[in-house]
Symmetry: C2
Subunit: 447 residues, 2 copies
């Protein structure tokens, strides 16, 4: 029996204990898969039966896009109960992903204070420290003694248990952060010592507006579990390493999906067919226009093509292979951009590096295709045209592929989105032009 | 002045203090970029001047491939000094990436005990718990009191400082893990309590052979900072969440590079041109053969093509557009495979979902291309052939694109590697066949 069948069976039989135990036994992948296989009504039933706390645990296992999709199916009142059980960053993320009407309906179900908290968080940009932080953290005054701090932790153990407190923050009466206490130092201290003596003074903090790139740089450079977030100097939350790493991973996935033509965020097969079709078409329709533009070169040379019809075989090969060679260079540049090895101003350095690879591979592929063309028709000049065009176009494709992501980034255009179409349009156009113009020049030798 | 110029200047002037301060001020991206811009001799000089500890800090900021490349340039004795400063997992990873001669030379410089430790770790497969664990962890006996445990931590503070101890492991005299103590529980306990009373008994542990997928599932499902690793029941190390997440991220990157035709691991532009060229060519040469196979269909129909030369314009468009549509579906399936929403046995479910999107988009793109073909030549039948072929081939490409990663995975073939070439070969072949066979059937209407 599949996991979704089991979930539904326990839901229908009303055996709450077995339902809960089974839901808890599912890993993140299985949870995601089970929910993807149910229809909206079934999901509603299962999540309702599980109760808010267990339902929230299940939601935490899903990607953000899937979690939002699932919450959309719940009644606003129950959705609010479930969201309340999540850390504030996850709660805000999901609310941000709901459409406006749904989000407003859920917000209306929260207490005015809860709603204000969420609204404040939702006011920060996605993928900034403000948008990624949690507001659950432990804070004490500098004058507190170790035993007072321990007592504070003990009495709030419930609140802190879910948030894996690693640091205790020391703030003054204005809420300004003055130091950080590590659990370990607290453990090794004497009970009468004061926070002031143990804390790391002037700790690193980030402003609510710090971008994901900036956060990643900070976390990569040292091994903090979390960093305090300040707004106009006052401490307002904590951004956790795990949250930042997850956001970086999601961003990389979005980039790779975009590069493959899935634009506008994650696509899941459980989403509506019309929405999926429309989102994919947006990208395809631009591509088909660019494709027609490039292919129109062929129409110009139709007389040459009619005279040497064998050329028609090489046109798609040169177009495909230049795309392949160019995309390899795009992939290396995208990777180097993401880890910071390459920056837009390195475009000449990158071009030099790609040029040498392009020359070698252009030569190898050109000789191969030229040889096959020669053997096929017994005409060395046909081999020269096909092989020569591929060789030159490979050098071009690799040069453009390596540099275009950097150039696009420099001009503020998303390289994940635009590198592919720009590359293939130029290489198709040049490839067709090279084969057909060369062939036209050498026509008497080819027929 | 660029960061690499500044590093070199401080190195040449021998101003160690400014060199160290500047190296420390660099973030991971800047460090990677600076080292990528230096030649081998320059890197050697800078890392030598920094000293083993600072050099190790710099290496930790790089990706594994780049770190190995940098270590290769150092003398074996100095490389050993630097590696000694790294956590064992990073040290082993780098040694694994060196070529055998270099690795042996470095191992020869380590003490017999150190070398044995590294060799033992290197014996575990990459991307298993054994290959990812660190062997630095705090372990106590069940009978130890809280104050003894605290005293142990205090006296080993130096050793533990670098490893961000979150848990203390309780082991028996055979080294078998019997419980886990959390720092927080230790903090809230009385000094005379024994580890036995405070520990979480029968803790979750993983075998050295646990795969990365298994580890990811465990860490995703709960919020451990690390998990104890056992070999034949005895505790041998700790695998940290950060290490697992980094390995998962690297795996995703390798998959995306592979999908774009960068096979055999990460490529950096600082690598040798011949190596880069050869690795890219391996992939390209298989692709060009598949391409020729698909394009050979065109040769079969050259009479039809000569009669209706306009068809030559549509061949590359249909080939490119089917590739685009199919790749969108591949990207969604690869993503669903990686988050666990889709599994090989879901192939029919996925096919059904893709079929509906394929039909909608095939219709839209077919009408568009058909309309343009009709307007261009004023022949509705030409529009029908071009548009019809694209529509049918889009349905095919989307169906294959969605299911091929699952099918390949089922047969143990790496979907990141093979999905692209399999997809484009089939769609090219079918696309060319559709246009040309349809045109041959309708030839009297087209000329």
């Amino acid at each position: 029996m599949t996991p979704w069948d089991t979930l539904l069976e326990h839901t229908h039989s009303g055996d709450l204990e077995r339902l809960t135990a089974f839901a808890r036994s599912l890993g993140p992948g299985e949870s995601a898969r089970a929910l993807a296989h149910m229809d909206r009504e079934e999901r509603r039933l299962v999540l309702r039966a599980l109760g808010p706390e267990e339902a929230a645990d299940l939601l935490e296992m899903l990607t953000r896009a899937q979690a939002a999709e699932v919450v959309e199916d719940l009644s606003p009142a129950y959705a609010a109960d479930v969201l309340r059980e999540l850390p504030t960053d996850t709660e805000t993320d999901i609310l941000r992903d709901l459409d406006e009407v749904d989000a407003a309906a859920v917000l209306a179900q929260l207490s005015p204070q809860e709603a204000a908290e969420v609204r404040a968080l939702a006011g920060y940009e996605d993928d900034t420290a403000g948008g990624l932080m949690v507001v659950e953290y432990a804070a004490v005054r500098a004058t507190a003694t170790v035993s007072q701090v321990v007592e504070h932790l003990r009495s709030h153990a419930d609140r802190y248990r879910d948030f894996h407190v690693q640091y205790i923050y020391v703030i003054d009466e204005e809420g300004v952060l003055t130091g950080v206490l590590r659990l370990r130092d607290l453990l090794l201290a004497r009970p009468r010592q004061r926070a002031r003596e143990l804390m790391i003074p002037d700790p690193i903090s980030v402003d609510v507006l710090t971008t994901l790139d900036g956060l990643q740089e900070l976390f990569d450079g040292a091994s903090y579990f979390g960093l305090p977030v300040t707004d106009a100097g006052r401490m307002v939350g904590v951004v956790r390493r795990a949250t930042v790493e997850e956001a970086v991973g999601e961003e990389a996935h979005r980039d790779h999906l975009k590069h493959a033509g899935i634009v506008g965020g994650e696509e899941l097969r459980s989403m509506d067919t019309l929405t999926r079709s429309r989102r994919r078409l947006q990208w395809l329709s631009i591509n088909i226009l660019l494709n027609m533009l490039a292919a129109s070169v062929i129409a110009i040379y139709q007389d040459t093509l009619t005279s040497v019809i064998a050329l028609a075989v090489f046109l798609p090969i040169i177009s495909d292979m230049s795309g392949c060679s160019g995309n390899q260079a795009v992939a290396v540049s995208m990777r180097e951009l993401s880890i910071g090895v390459a920056r837009p101003q390195d475009v000449l350095h990158v071009w030099g590096k790609e040029l040498s690879v392009g020359l070698l591979n252009g030569l190898a592929l050109g000789i191969l295709l030229g040889g096959v063309a020669y053997l096929w028709k017994g005409n060395p000049w046909l081999g020269l045209v096909a092989g020569g065009a591929l060789a030159i176009n490979t050098v071009l494709a690799v040069s453009i592929g390596g540099t275009i992501p950097l150039v696009l980034k420099h001009f503020g255009v998303d390289p994940a989105l635009a590198s592919g179409p720009v590359l293939t349009t130029i290489t198709d156009l040049c490839g067709f032009l090279l084969v057909l113009a060369l062939a036209t020049q050498m026509l008497p030798l080819l027929v």
